[in-house]
């Protein structure tokens, strides 16, 4: 049992990352009943934007760029963590504008549209940045390793897991404990209630979608130092995100978080014994659950299964 402990811990930190990756996807699925397959591409864009901002050649005029580069790494990292998601959010706005045509129709329209968008974004990434791998620098404070038992753990993993937990908690508070959250929950897919309350539905949906894409980008920045930055990272993220939502059940916040942790544990534990096959474990987990439970762990009825 004691041997397992590091693997369990590893699995849990990984699980928090999976939950974070799925967070924006979940908001859009749960609140708008739309599947955003471009989620992974926005995740990737977040990482690329942050990398570009912090790297040696930021997309800024010469004199501002040198002033910017003179700032300490920590400052630049913090700024990138805010600016890059906003830039990704702008792309999200563009996607939402296209997606409007599909509202009120089958959610498959949205799924296909965002599948196309994902292709376009990934190809654009290849055009701009090429196919090579990039590394996202992180500040010294969260870099390095700690000794834990007789294993060396990267500090960054703990930072990433911690910040994931914080972001998940904040989003939960926002959705469940604020008036804004109440309106969003009531209205994003039940348009009549919101209209009756005199709220601009178009703007509300835009807001939810952009918020979801910004969360995707934040997840991209958090995960990038661990996974690396490359064009394929979008696909590597959207599949687990989708899986976590289906496993947890559509429309269940804690279902997704628990599913994220379970997937992390499954991948972490199987990785310890058969690293070749570790990615398979999440699919086996999904099949095992969905074979017996029609809506994943705690899913609610939705148009996505009508």
């Amino acid at each position: 049992m004691l041997d397992l402990l590091p693997h369990i811990l590893n699995g849990l930190t990984l699980g928090l990352l999976f939950a974070l990756i799925a967070l924006g996807f979940m908001l859009i699925v749960g609140l708008m009943e739309q599947i955003n397959l471009a989620h992974g591409s926005l995740f990737a864009l977040g990482a690329y934007f942050a990398m570009q901002l912090m790297g040696p050649r930021p997309p800024l005029p010469q004199d501002i760029a040198s002033a910017w580069l003179a700032l300490p790494l920590g400052w630049r990292y913090a700024a990138a963590l805010i600016i890059a998601p906003m830039a990704a959010g702008a792309i999200g706005i563009a996607i939402e504008f296209c997606m409007r045509r599909t509202y009120g129709k089958d959610p498959l329209y949205g799924l296909l549209l965002t599948f196309g968008a994902a292709m376009v974004i990934e190809e654009t990434i290849r055009l701009i940045w090429g196919t090579r791998d990039y590394v996202l620098q992180v500040p010294q404070a969260i870099n390095g390793g700690v000794l834990f038992g007789d294993l060396i753990w990267s500090t960054y993993r703990f930072y990433a897991a911690g910040i994931s937990a914080v972001i998940i908690g904040l989003v939960w508070l926002l959705i469940e404990k604020t008036p804004f959250g109440a309106i969003v929950k009531a209205g994003a897919h039940d348009s009549e209630i919101v209209r009756a309350l005199g709220i601009n539905l178009t703007r509300l949906r835009l807001l939810v979608f952009v918020f979801g894409t910004m969360l995707a980008a934040i997840a991209g920045i958090i995960v990038a130092p661990i996974w690396g930055i490359r064009p394929h990272m979008g696909v590597d993220a959207v599949i687990p995100a989708f899986l976590v939502i289906v496993l947890g059940g559509v429309g269940s916040f804690w279902g997704a978080v628990v599913a994220g942790l379970l997937v992390g544990l499954a991948v972490g534990l199987s990785g310890a014994y058969a690293s070749e096959w570790s990615l398979l474990s999440m699919y086996v987990l999904l099949v095992a659950v969905v074979t017996f439970r029609a809506r994943g762990l705690w899913g609610k009825k939705s148009v996505l299964e009508a």
Partner: protein, 347 residues
């Protein structure tokens, strides 16, 4: 128009098929002159069989299967492995591709046929990923990422004579013959009582069950059948490529067959998948020769199709042909899409 459609549905070979087969038979005579090559024709025909088989599930049954590449790939491996380990006979190896992929499909169908919508869709993805991972990781059997190489284009042994298929032109005609048989079989299938029951189930599972149909069995059987035919196409593809690679089983490639089918108009037309495959593969070679970013343009085209012509190219052509208003056509395409996720609830 309706009357023609109905009489066509009872035909073994329709006029459209005749013209198509005749036109395709002339392809090797001129394809090199327009700067392309017979191999592209082979690829288009094989992928057309695959996409038509896939559309049995997506278009006819309305089941969102997003991991269909697995069965195409399994067929390819089965063909190669049969050739190496069992017997190097064309018919046996093609039958193996059909049967093994069908068995894989039946296994998956057992797990998914009682699920709907997003849960169904993701289960197909999960199984697709499982098969794909197994193919990549089982180096000893499949050759891993390097692929299963040195697969031969076995000669077609007819008992009295044996026809060599090694050359691209003779292989093209062989594939065309198989394509013809497959098209006729699938045309019969979708217009048979079985096909109509499947189409009925797509429109309302509840009603079909109360009419006395075992919905689960129909859903499972059409999935299995589609997987088997996809695997058969995969066997041909292994012959075409002289190898079997795991990448056709990846999620990307499974996504492409969905795109081809939808862009072509598989939801409203039997021929949609063929149109889509033709557009996709030709665009890949023609635009791909001009720019590396051809997927970017195809992605944009796909988005435009979803937004403005969800009935796809074949649907738009049919609309113009039948002189119907595009408005009603769009409604038709819309409802077909809506049905993909089961009953289709209005919002």
């Amino acid at each position: 128009m309706i009357a023609t459609y109905q009489s066509d549905s009872a035909r073994l070979i329709t006029p459209t098929m005749m013209w198509l087969f005749l036109a395709l038979a002339t392809v090797p005579l001129w394809i090199a002159r327009i700067g392309l090559y017979p191999y592209l024709g082979i690829e288009i025909l094989i992928w057309s069989i695959y996409a038509l088989a896939f559309n049995l599930v997506l278009g006819t049954a309305g089941l969102p299967s997003f991991g269909h590449g697995a069965y195409f790939g399994i067929g390819a491996y089965a063909f190669g492995l049969c050739q190496f380990n069992v017997v190097a006979n064309l018919w046996v190896c093609l039958a193996a591709a059909f049967v093994i992929a069908g068995l894989a499909g039946a296994l998956v169908a057992l797990f998914i046929s009682h699920r709907r919508g997003i849960y169904y869709a993701f289960m197909t993805i999960a199984f697709g990923q499982i098969f794909w991972t197994v193919a990549i990781k089982s180096h000893k059997v499949t050759g891993g990422e390097d692929g299963l190489l040195k697969i031969a284009r076995l000669p077609a042994d007819l008992g009295f004579a044996s026809i060599d298929l090694a050359g691209n032109v003779s292989f093209y005609y062989f594939v065309l013959l198989v394509f013809g048989v497959a098209v006729i079989a699938m045309w019969r299938l979708v217009h048979s009582p079985y096909g109509r029951v499947i189409a009925a189930i797509k429109q309302s599972e509840t009603r079909a069950a109360h009419l006395g149909y075992n919905v689960w069995l129909y859903k499972a059987s059409i999935f299995t059948l589609s997987a088997a035919i996809s695997g058969f196409a995969g066997g041909l593809f292994a012959m075409a490529q002289l190898a079997a690679f795991p990448d056709v089983m990846s999620l990307h490639q499974s996504g492409y067959v969905v795109m081809m089918t939808l862009v072509g108009g598989g939801l409203v037309s039997f021929w949609g998948p063929v149109v889509g495959v033709f557009l996709f593969l030709t665009a890949r070679d023609v635009i791909g020769a001009l720019t590396n970013a051809w997927m970017l343009y195809f992605g944009l085209l796909f988005m435009a199709v979803v937004l403005f012509r969800p009935e796809g190219v074949a649907g738009a052509v049919a609309a113009a042909w039948q002189n119907r208003s595009l408005y009603s056509m769009r409604r038709q395409g819309g409802s077909a899409l809506r049905l993909l996720f089961g009953g289709g609830r209005w919002r």
